[in-house]
Amino acid sequence: MNTVLSRANSLFAFSLSVMAALTFGCFITTAFKDRSVPVDIHVSKVMIKNVDDFTGPRERSDLGFVTFDISADLQPIFDWNVKELFLYMSAEYSTKSNALNQVVLWDKIILRGDKTKLNLRDIKSKYFFFDDGNGLRANKNITLTLSWNVVPNAGILPLVVGSGHKSLAFPETYETAKSY
């Protein structure tokens, strides 16, 4: 500690250790929090088509179109350890050929500081709702849930499912070709 550099080295190393301890403290204060909030999903329009799926085998597959509303208040999730939320809406169902299918229809990123009260109406799905085959037609039970990934400042990234889901049924017949 006789020279400036030696003192500066000592000081800087100590500061970094204290900073690491503070970050751990930040993690500990929020590690066991429940990050689930109630979510309200409402479906306004359901349609199904049978089209060529160019990404899969050369047979026609079912393509679903769902228009939905989401309302949720995500304010309780944000605390000093949350940087952003990655929300996604997924549809889960079972068909004759596959026992469990999960398809992501829509997603959104909410940063800390953005509006946390979600009140979105008439959202069309962002991604194609293709089925592996023809299992969507007349499928009575398709469950839509909103889930999110919590991205923290320090710690684990939990995957939380919102408490609230909506079941819907697809119609029996295909739509004739319409301009979407």
């Binding site: 500690m1 006789n2 020279t3 400036v4 003192r7 500066a8 000592s10 000081l11 100590f14 500061s15 204290v18 900073m19 301890a21 503070l22 403290g25 930040c26 204060t29 944000f78 605390d79 000093w80 350890n81 400042n153």
Partner: protein, 102 residues
């Protein structure tokens, strides 16, 4: 240029070094505690980091330059020995010469 920086005296005596270490550890720990509590209250980790950085800057200012308060207990060196140092230097050289002849 570098020799000019190296010639600036930055030493502190031992008691001064101990005092400097205690000061910077104290300042940084206190600012860490204040920062943690404030960040927890307003739920923004950014403020915790800012308060820590302020504590770091303050302790740099207090302990890096060799203020006079760190030089209050200088070591009392013995006074230098007079002329006998010339005789001491000759003896080891004689021993070397003898060994080489062998």
């Amino acid at each position: 240029m570098l020799s000019m920086f190296k010639s600036i005296p930055t030493h502190m005596d031992y008691k001064g070094q101990k005092l400097a270490e205690q000061i910077f550890q104290g300042v940084i720990l206190v600012s860490a505690v204040i920062g943690f509590i404030y960040g927890l209250l307003i739920q923004q980790f950014g403020w915790t980091v800012y308060i820590m950085l302020a504590g770091f800057a303050l302790s740099c200012l207090l302990t890096l330059p060799p203020w006079p308060v760190y030089r209050r207990n200088p070591l009392s060196w013995q006074p230098p020995l007079p002329e006998t140092s010339g005789e001491n230097r000759e003896k080891p050289q004689e021993n070397l010469k003898k060994k080489k002849h062998k």
